[in-house]
């Protein structure tokens, strides 16, 4: 009876035969899977459980995900961008607002670039296409749990394009009260281009004679600039519209 419920299934944990080799510490990484496609949701949950992650909850839409968030207390949310009730961008924003420590890994089948970019700007830590191999997916979950940004080449290209767009857009000088567009340093641009053309952090580190950690930090900073800019823009938007709206 419970099995027929398509709803949230809090914490059927420890199904996996193998212990977690990736997650250090005594507590396994808790993951919530949000996907409206049951076949996909189950496949992803199974993969995660087999790899030793604790599937804290699964949800088939955004509202459900937000409802069970408090009880499930996931470290990582694996989120499909296309949900029946809310956009993935809204879910990302709401998840981050409710629980700032939760890290969102966006899994998208559509490759809908603007949505992916918006989700990343709203606070997602990474993005992966659904057709990525299982190893790639599990690696991405591990890195997300570790606090790294999961920059696939297409995501790096999107982010690079977004910084270029912000830099080229008129009226972002800051003089008119709008926040100045974030800009990348030359080093950050260089690294982003390399990620976008498929070089691994290790290859980038060796090309630029940097440490692996330094490359990771640069990528983190890039994402941080985008998040910050997005937050500032949101606040500005709220103030403008709050002041403009009629008080009830």
């Amino acid at each position: 009876m419970v099995g027929e419920d398509r709803g949230a299934t809090p914490a059927a944990s420890g199904r996996g035969p193998a212990p977690v080799p990736e997650a250090d510490g005594p507590r396994p990484v808790r993951v919530m899977v949000v996907d409206d496609h049951p076949m996909w949701r189950d496949a992803v949950a199974r993969d995660l459980a087999e790899a030793g992650y604790e599937v804290a909850a699964t949800a088939s839409d955004g509202a459900q995900a937000l409802r069970v968030l408090g009880a499930a207390r996931p470290d990582v949310v694996v989120l499909d961008l296309q949900l029946p009730d809310m956009s993935g961008v809204e879910v990302t924003r709401a998840l981050r607002a409710t629980s700032p420590s939760v890290r969102v890994l966006v899994l998208s089948a559509s490759g809908e670039q603007q949505d992916v970019l918006d989700a990343v700007k709203a606070g997602a830590a990474g993005y992966l296409v659904k057709s990525a191999a299982r190893a790639e997916f599990l690696d991405a979950v591990r890195r997300t749990a570790d606090g790294d940004a999961v920059f696939t080449p297409p995501l790096a290209a999107l982010v690079l394009g977004e910084f270029r767009r912000l830099a080229a857009a008129p009226a972002t000088s800051g003089a008119d009260g709008r926040p100045a567009a974030p800009t990348l340093t030359m080093r950050e641009t260089e690294i982003l281009r390399m990620v976008a053309t498929g070089l691994s952090y290790k290859q980038i580190a060796s090309r630029l004679v940097l440490s692996h950690r330094t490359v990771q930090n640069h990528v983190q900073n890039i994402l941080g600039k985008l998040h910050l800019h997005n937050r500032v823009e949101l606040v500005r938007y709220a103030i403008e519209h709050g002041l403009a709206a009629d008080p009830d």
Partner: protein, 396 residues
């Protein structure tokens, strides 16, 4: 009424045309009433045979009813009926000979039909346009001139007004038809794009998900299943590109990102900014061909399973496309050697193409780290694109 693609003839129209036909009917009845008023008030002075004049007025009334009923059905608005309308009206106009005093005629007084004669002029104008309206007006001027003894001593105000009315109403009718056709076209495009969106949603929810799963599971299973998985992945990419493509662009510019997207495959990753990267038609074609040539080269020299990444960058002054592979790279001097030996593959296809477009291509290779081809296409300065502020230092 089903909207047939391409059907813009009179079968497919139109609310505005129907409104014009109703306006003609109103005009005919109103002008009939006015003619009756003239006859009732000025009776004594003008008419030799007032009784006949009332009979003519009765005929006018009957004809007004007949034409109004007939014109209310689209299929009756034939050239024959419109010609008959013209002939009957001219005949009634000429009846003035028999019932008006010659003095009244010569002094330019209004014939018994009055402005009612303009009815068929409006009908011709609405049915066939400006020229037909003008022709009908001229045709109906002839009996009036005959009435005045072919003299132009009387200023033909009525006839000029009728001519103007024919031209103006014809113009309005043509304009309305054109707008109607445009609206129908827009409706069709909108319906098509809604349908496309619906299909895209459905396909996304079902087929794409399954293909992605087959792709992933197949690759994991290995062997023959891996081949199936690879094929599913290719179809997934192709289908996604197909449903993602918008309706054909009408502008001269093309989206370079959209042109390059179909090149993505299991082994090739294509990335770029979220929006479209607009370039000229020829430029888009040329750059796409150059990227295709570079990817062919990757396959030829690094094997079918070499991975490649295509990066599109859009900057105000230049569009850059970078193609990198993870092959062994080109040994030093090999490229120059190939050109020297007359094998112009890479050089001709890539460098030549980019030069033709006013851009350039740079091919770099690090031993063991693959080859990187960079295509640069300068943008012509355009008024719509704001000039860069010199104070803002670009990333490079």
């Amino acid at each position: 009424m089903p909207v047939l693609p391409g059907a813009c003839d009179d079968e497919g129209v139109s609310r505005s045309a129907e409104a014009l036909w109703r306006a003609i009917a109103v005009f005919r009845f109103a002008s009939l009433g006015y003619a009756a008023l003239l006859l009732g008030v000025f009776d004594e002075n003008r008419y030799s045979r007032p009784d006949l004049a009332w009979i003519v007025l009765g005929a006018m009334g009957s004809w007004t009813v007949v034409t109004t009923l007939a014109y209310s059905h689209r299929r009756h608005r034939t050239a024959a009926l419109l010609s008959a309308d013209l002939a009957v009206t001219a005949g009634l106009l000429l009846s003035t000979f028999a019932l008006q005093l010659p003095a009244a005629r010569h002094s330019g007084l209004v014939p018994v039909t009055g402005p009612w004669v303009a009815g068929p002029v409006l009908a011709w104008a609405v049915r066939y346009g400006r020229a037909a309206g003008a022709a009908a007006a001229l045709a109906l001027s002839l009996p009036t001139f005959a009435l005045s003894g072919w003299s132009v001593s009387v200023v033909p105000n009525g006839e000029v007004l009728m001519l103007l009315a024919g031209v103006a109403v014809g113009h309005v009718a043509q304009l309305a038809a054109a707008l109607e056709a445009e609206r129908q076209h827009t409706d069709r495009v909108e319906a098509a794009s809604r349908e496309r969106e619906r299909l895209a949603r459905d396909i996304h929810d079902s087929v794409l998900q399954v293909l992605a799963l087959v792709h992933r599971r197949g690759l994991e299973a290995g062997g023959a299943a891996a081949e199936l998985g690879r094929l599913a992945g290719e179809q997934e990419a192709a289908l996604r590109a197909l449903i993602g493509a918008g309706p054909t662009a009408t502008s001269a510019d093309v989206d370079l990102s959209a042109l390059l997207k179909p090149l993505a495959s299991e082994w090739v990753t294509v990335g770029g900014p979220a929006g479209s990267v607009l370039v000229g038609n020829a430029e888009g074609e040329g750059v796409t061909a150059a990227v295709g040539a570079a990817l062919d080269n990757v396959r030829r020299h690094c094997g079918p399973h070499a991975r490649a990444w295509v990066l599109v960058e859009d900057e105000p002054e230049v569009v850059t496309v970078t193609i990198r592979d993870d092959g062994q790279g080109i040994p030093e001097g090999r490229l120059a050697q190939a050109i020297g030996a007359g094998r112009l593959g890479v050089s001709q296809s890539i460098r030549g193409r980019m030069r033709d477009l006013g851009g350039c291509a740079e091919i770099r290779s690090l031993p063991g780290e693959g080859t990187e081809v960079t295509l640069r296409l300068p943008r012509p300065p355009s008024p719509g694109r704001p000039a860069q502020e010199p104070a803002r230092v670009r990333a490079w």
